[in-house]
Symmetry: C2
Subunit: 142 residues, 2 copies
DNA sequence: ATAGCTGCAAATGCTTTGCAAGGCC
DNA sequence: GGCCTTGCAAAGCATTTGCAGCTAT
């Protein structure tokens, strides 16, 4: 198999992913999907993703980045991680897991679920269900 | 002891708290301290606190609310809880503890530290220290 | 053809800042 | 008096929205 075939196989795969989410595989969406999903788990902000897209030679507006990040999130391809009150991070790892947050660098790092356990959870408030449990271990450089 | 004496005792206490933080006990600061610390643990946004101050008849600007929330936070009288990417919450409970976050209502509720245990924490990334561990149990009404 | 997407620019919402006037020590 | 605080209005920043034009099906 040539490199080109691998390349096109990957793209076809991403197109599929987009189609399954009931979204049209536009040039911009495919480019974003490549940046987000090709290299495994990523934690990214809209701004950064925009920069990467431009660098990769894909002309795309920030508004479209935001639209697509939210559409991907709604479709279950991404999740939003709330760690910083000034900007939003999106995570491509959909398995249950937690995070280190490097406060100095504004960087997220996965903690595999098996590596961290939350026990002794008290009774939930009357009439509520758990939507998710987020554990954020904030670290600073020493 | 009369009610008035209790009242003034409380205020004197709050003034002390403010002085210890190296801040001047201005009318606005005392009013905010009353709203924040008089009735035990609270979780509050700048907007809400502003509303409460106006309701209590204290003329204070939103900018001053923000200034003081940050000064109180820097002084260790408050902590900021990051749960919502659109606004900041401040918590008057400085003991180590975690939170339920009612996503429907945008409301925080304490989980006493003794009630929830985080175990099996993996090794920290090279050269880092823990700043804090935040557990947020997001719940929705059913 | 038509419903969905994109880009632009304007709008939004929360938060911060600059600066003149006022208040605490 | 001198420095800290306040309030106002303007600015800032990330994000969202309206809309005209383009694109996938």
């Amino acid at each position: 198999m040539t490199v080109d075939q691998k390349e096109s196989g990957l793209k076809a795969n991403l197109e599929n992913k987009i189609r399954k989410a009931d979204l049209r595989p536009t040039k911009q969406r495919i480019a974003l999907a490549e940046l987000l999903f090709a290299d495994g788990n990523r934690h990214i902000t809209a701004e950064i993703l925009h920069g990467e897209a431009l660098e990769a030679g894909v002309r795309i507006s920030l508004a479209t980045i935001y639209n697509n990040l939210h559409q991907f999130t709604a479709a279950g391809l991404l999740r939003e991680v709330v760690v910083d009150s000034t900007k939003s991070y999106f995570d491509t790892n959909m398995d249950p897991h937690h995070h280190f947050f490097h406060e100095d660098k504004g960087m997220l790092e996965d903690i595999h679920s098996s590596k961290l356990e939350v026990s002794n959870l008290p009774d939930l408030p009357e009439g509520t269900n758990i939507a998710s449990i987020d554990v954020i271990v904030r670290v600073t450089s020493n």
